[in-house]
Every structure is written in C-alpha cells, then in structure tokens.
Symmetry: C2
Subunit: 160 residues, 2 copies
C-alpha cells in the first residue's frame, strides 16, 4: 500500500469500528428494548437507530457513491423529533435497513482511491471547495464517524 | 499541500472539531453542573471530563509527542469508577487541565508529518506493527476522536 492508501484505510477502519460497535449494541436489543429511552425524556433507541440510518443513507448522494436506500426515513427520523408520529417501521425492518445501508456504504468506501477521498463532497460548490480543500469526502466520513460515536455513547447508557 | 498532508489535516481537523464541541459544553457548566449525572446513576460531568482529560493526557507517551501533564488523573478517572473517592480536583482545575492537555496535544499533532502519522504507536511492538501497519499513530488519533465524541454524546444529554 502507498502511504496515501494507508492513511485512507486507517480512516475507513475507524468508521467500520464505530459502526460495528453500534451493530453489537443493536444486536443485543429485543423489540421491546427499542422503546427504551437513553435517558428520561430523551430519544428512544428506536429513534436513534432510525436517525443514524437516515444520516448514513444520505451519504450515498453526498459522497456520490450510489442511490439512497431509504429516503422515506428522513421525514420520520430527521425532520421530526422522536414520538411525534406513530412508528411505521418495525424494529426488524429498521435493523435490516441499518445493516444494509452500512454494508453498501462500507463496500463503496473501500473502493474509493485516496485522490477521490480528497475530492469535494456534494454540499460544497466547486468555487468554495477551491478555497477550502478540507471540505472533501474524507471530512464527511470523519464527521459521520464522530456523529455515530456520539449517539453510540448514548445507546451505551441503556446497555443491558 | 500534498495529498498526504491534506488527508492528515482533514483528520486533525476532525479531532479539533470534536474537542471544541466538548469545550463548548464544558464552558456552559457552572461548578454545580459538574455534579450532574448524564443519566440516572451514570457518570457525573465531573468524572467524564476527568476521564477524557486522563485518556487524552496518555496520548503524549502513546504517540511520543511529549511528557504527560496529569499522570495523577489515572487513579481517579481511569482506575476507579465515579463516586468511589472524594473529588480532589476542583472544577476550575479540571477545566484548566482539559484545556491545557488538548492545547498541547493539538499543537504537537499539527507538527507531525504524514509519514510520522503512519509510524507505529507506542503500545504495539515493531514486530507486530510490521504485520499490522494500520496500528499507527493516526489510528490512535481516530480512536480517541471517536471516544471523545462517544462521551460528548452523553454530555449533550444534560445540556442546559
């Protein structure tokens, strides 16, 4: 591997590790656990997992690595707070969506070359990117890794 | 900047962003807030900030970027759980320690060259590192960034 490739692999590995820890937390949840709140009055596990799935699903267009799998999740898990609408997704379907989104994303990440990671992400214009080259795909991956870990810390509070 | 340098700067930026968010959460805490738990029966803000400071302080030897500032924190914030000993550090001193440790670390991080980030960290032997080149300094930085974000998510639950 070139040093560029080593640097990128190290970052992709960090993403995989954070996702795998949430996988483990989710795997230990039965359907009724999904109704538990991470702290009194805060989000339920159900909502947090949907929120993470929606945020990760949005990476497909943002990083130009494919089409979204669950655009319908935005309304439930991003536009609206927890408990403002009935749960229209079952825990089993939510687990499956989480797993499929990350599986497909991770496969795409492992195929991106270092120079592609340094290209702009889709929310920054070519003009702005010329001035701010750190607004690249890799920055988005790092941001979402931190975001997943942020909510992973909350999920850990209800660990059984 | 070379592409190697851009990759590394993007990662160091992600670290700085996560630390700055915890800085903001901590800045909004008065002394009495430090006694609040992130969830019933869970760690107090005081303990979490000490824990994060100790973990970051250990990065100096682990990444070979300097001497530790607060080795005394290990006993209080790593070896023992919260509320098992009296608080011997004041909130003001804890805030100062957190800030100093991260300031000195970040300055050191900004001076490391990409090839230095790809060198082994101090907890892996040269023999093992030859077989597993992803156990490098950058992997540690990413791990600690995720760790800080993990606890940042818990601190956010008690945001005022």
């Amino acid at each position: 591997m070139t040093s560029n490739e080593l640097l990128v692999s190290t970052v992709v590995n960090a993403w995989k590790l954070v996702v795998s820890r949430i996988d483990q937390a989710v795997a230990s949840c039965g359907d009724s656990d999904f109704q538990r709140e991470v702290a009194p009055g805060k989000n339920r596990i159900f909502y947090l997992l949907g929120h993470l799935t929606a945020v990760h699903d949005r990476l497909f267009p943002l990083l130009r690595v494919g089409a979204r799998l669950h655009p319908d999740f935005d309304e439930i898990f991003l536009a609206n707070p927890d408990r403002t609408s009935p749960d229209t997704v079952s825990p089993a379907d939510l687990k499956k969506a989480w797993s499929e989104v990350n599986g497909k994303l991770t496969a795409a990440f492992e195929n991106l070359r270092p120079e592609e990671w340094l290209e702009r992400h889709n929310d920054v214009s070519p003009e702005d990117f010329a001035k701010e080259p750190l607004r690249n795909r890799l920055a988005v991956l790092l941001s979402r890794t931190s975001h997943a870990s942020f909510h992973g810390g909350q999920l850990a509070l209800v660990k059984k």
